[in-house]
């Protein structure tokens, strides 16, 4: 039951010259949002740019009584629309359609949840971590960034009881290199009898590497993909991803059958077009 809300900007925290967190007054969206869902955002009024942009719902904002009043987006500027969102100011009106898409399904104990985030791929995990914490599922966040300055909201996750494993490309925080390296070691170290469900979001090569590890170690794994999306509602067939279904592989619309997919079902060779 998505709604389209002319949301007012109620906060914009610029984290780095590239990343910001944009807070939007959008009660109707916040109310029904589930972990991993997204919104389609009109980054400017008028026709330039014309189309909306998809963003994961980062945080659910609540008032003093705990009632959901809005959402925040973790935005990385990569082009026109994300630059506009970076520059947005309090009081700007930003149309916001959602919540959209299939959410993550948070796993229950005794299974553990391992989240794997690369860069802005952290976005869908704040809400997932809350849902996992509420179930008492123990969780680990494998979080990779380019450098220490590009890692955010760690205390939010540790505050929920998550274990953090950090990597950076330049070694300025945590282990130097890919986030899949410590993940691989952790998978190798874990007894097959102890269940783990993995959740990954980030650059396509990272998600693919996680999917490969998942296959090798036979762990259920869900990825949140980020193809170009024209409508977010299943109307345009622009966002298709090739997945294995009974009877063969098919292009399915990731805005309504995703963005979260079982990593084992994704035909990775057919993935193209995202900016990651």
């Amino acid at each position: 039951m998505p709604v389209d809300i002319p949301a007012a900007v109620i906060g914009n925290t610029r984290l780095t010259p590239e990343y910001n967190v944009l807070s939007l007054a959008a009660p109707g969206v916040a109310e029904h949002a589930a972990p991993g869902q997204f919104v389609m955002v009109k980054t400017a009024p008028g026709l330039d740019p014309l189309l909306r942009r998809p963003f994961s719902i980062f945080e659910i904002l609540r008032d003093a009584s705990g009632a959901p009043v809005g959402i925040s987006l973790l935005n990385k500027r990569v082009g026109v629309g994300t630059s506009l969102l970076y520059d947005a100011r309090d009081g700007d009106r930003i149309d916001c359609l959602g919540p959209l898409g299939k959410p993550f399904e948070p796993v229950d104990p005794p299974a553990e949840a391992w989240m794997v985030a690369g860069g802005v791929g952290l976005a869908p995990f704040a809400t997932l971590a809350q849902a996992l914490a509420a179930r008492g599922t123990s969780m680990t966040l494998f979080y990779g960034g380019r450098s220490a300055a590009d890692l955010f909201h760690e205390s939010f996750f540790t505050g929920l009881g998550a274990t953090l494993v950090i990597t950076t490309d330049d070694g300025s925080r945590g282990e130097r290199g890919r986030v899949t390296r410590p993940l691989e070691r952790a998978l190798a170290a874990r007894a097959a009898t102890l269940p783990v469900t993995m959740y990954a979001c980030g650059p396509t090569p990272m998600m693919r590497a996680v999917a490969d590890l998942a296959a090798t170690h036979a762990r259920p794994t869900f990825v949140s993909l980020e193809p170009v999306m024209g409508c977010g509602m299943g109307g345009c067939y622009s966002c298709v991803v090739r997945v294995t279904r009974p009877g063969g592989t098919h292009f399915v619309r990731s805005c309504i059958e995703g963005p979260v997919f079982d990593a084992a079902s994704v035909v990775w060779d057919a993935l193209k077009g995202g900016h990651h």
């Binding site: 026709l47 189309l51 024209g230 299943g234 298709v240």
Partner: protein, 303 residues
């Protein structure tokens, strides 16, 4: 409250605002956000006889005030449509217009036959104008005899209102309107998208995997309005106009230019809940101008 109803052959639409084919899925996708039965009609995604994969992504690219698409008519085929979608559309009270595709005249006829035997199809929109596929479509739509032949062949197999959808990628769309009229069409719809392309200058590759795509959205509106006006001068048939409609004003512009009804495509991607305000806005305009029926506004441009 003005009379907003529109006649397209034997079909009466509640109002002139139709969701454009390929821009509204099979209609059901929008049922959670929109009262789809309140629309004048829903033109569903183009259907061939069998399922189709469509093109490899990326399938769309944004352009100034518009977008290119090369979806390649991914679809579930007419049989699954009749089985899986049509009953629900009927249940919801949707006025369903089916966009019919074919690689051959036989396929157009066969798809139409299946739809004519089914219950709940309001009209057939003959897609002879998709710029994104090699076989079928545009090869008929860019030739006058091709248009005549496919329309008259399909005419023989159905009594449903038959609406060939014309391409803008020709010198004289009005001549295609006349060919359609001669071949027995009940109405025409136009425009489909403009053949176009975009290149990524860093990679030097086309931005669409398919190389070319169709341009839609507000960018094309002034050309589409011109073509609707030209067709209005050329034929008596009802005209379903489209191309870049995003506001009530745009709807009215097409109606005044000569459209009996309109379709909204790309703008639905941006504002999927625009429908109620748009329909209401037509009513308000008519009341404000003292016009009793929307039909009285059609083609009423003054010089």
């Amino acid at each position: 409250m003005a009379d907003l109803s529109v006649k397209i052959g034997s079909l009466t639409l509640k109002n002139p605002v139709i969701a454009a084919s390929g821009c509204f899925g099979y209609g059901l996708e929008y049922a959670s956000a929109v009262d789809v039965s309140a629309l004048g009609g829903v033109a569903v995604k183009g259907l061939f006889l069998n399922e189709r994969e469509g093109h490899a992504p990326p399938r769309i690219v944004e352009t100034p005030a518009g977008m290119l698409n090369a979806i390649g008519l991914q679809g579930i085929g007419v049989h699954r449509f009749v089985r899986e979608k049509l009953p629900e559309l009927r249940r919801l009270g949707v006025t369903t217009i089916v966009n019919v595709c074919g690689s051959t005249i036989d396929e157009y006829c066969e798809v139409t036959r299946v739809l004519s035997d089914a219950e709940g199809v309001g009209a057939i929109e003959l897609n002879i104008s998709c710029p994104n596929i090699k076989e079928g479509g545009i090869q008929f739509g860019c030739s006058l005899t091709g248009t005549y032949d496919v329309v008259s062949a399909v005419r023989k197999v159905t009594s449903l209102p038959l609406v060939p959808k014309l391409t803008p990628n020709v010198t004289d769309p009005a001549s295609f309107a006349r060919a359609s009229e001669d071949a027995g069409a009940d109405a025409i719809s136009l425009v489909n998208t403009f053949l176009a392309m975009a290149i990524d200058v860093e990679t030097r590759k086309p931005k669409l995997t398919n190389l070319m795509g169709g341009l839609s959205g507000p960018a094309i509106r002034p050309i589409a309005v011109r073509m609707v006006w030209e067709c209005r001068q050329a034929v008596k048939l009802p005209i379903i106009g489209m191309g870049g409609i995003a506001t009530v004003t745009d709807v009215l512009e097409f109606i005044i230019a000569g459209a009996d009804a309109v379709q909204v495509g790309t703008a639905n991607f941006v504002y999927p809940t625009l429908w109620a305000d748009m329909i209401d806005g037509i009513d308000k305009y008519l009341d404000r101008h003292g016009i009793a029926r929307v039909a009285d506004l059609v083609g009423k441009m003054e010089r």
